[in-house]
Symmetry: C2
Subunit: 122 residues, 2 copies
């Protein structure tokens, strides 16, 4: 097996020292917690569509007024999903005039896919 | 913006035709459902650690007897998590003698990270 670039902290040496040897270190528990939280924030069809619509918008930014109709939900529900995506670090929000604008955090999804690649070899 | 390779089916033309134009198509609803299900299966610290231990094992395969101690849970609980990972297409299971062996599905995590990359541009 080729060596995968290690972006994750090493697990404690004793963490997986049960019976069969590992050929490389598994993900550390605290890193698994962090990654699980980020995945959970994305693991919803509406939130995936919201992220995708923002990403597909000009400048990777979209007004909340442009996000409601495509997903077919009420504004409070859409705002709730957007809040979860902001808290997980995928979107940022800025207010201009009446409307809130949501922008994709550069590299946030790319970082997540890199973490997945490191969690398992390709 | 550069053109991202499109691995996802196009959304219906009217799906996101609210106000501001999109620079490319957003993820289609049925593809969002599928991706959300896969992400949900992984979005748990124990399951991430199990996948990672299997991936780090010789031949990307591990006996269930080697998975219990590292995650510090009972065998039924570990088996429950492994079942979810199998149903989501990340692991396969084979029985040899007394023990069940879990093997990483080649490319399953890589495919997921590609889908994430397509959901948003990097």
């Amino acid at each position: 097996m080729t060596t995968t670039p290690q972006l994750l902290p090493m697990a404690e040496p004793t963490a997986a020292a049960c019976c069969a040897p590992l050929t490389r270190e598994a993900i550390a528990p605290d890193q698994a917690d962090l990654l699980a939280r980020k995945l959970k924030a994305l693991a919803d069809p509406t939130r995936l569509r919201l992220v995708s619509i923002v990403a597909a918008s000009d400048g990777e930014e979209a007004c909340v007024c442009d996000l409601i109709e495509p997903v077919g939900l009420s504004q409070p529900t859409v705002s709730h999903h957007l809040k979860i995506l902001m808290e997980a670090g995928f979107l940022t929000r800025s207010k201009r005039g009446t409307w809130a604008y949501y922008r994709l955090v550069p590299g946030a999804l790319g970082e997540l896919s890199q973490l997945l690649d490191v969690t398992a070899s390709r």
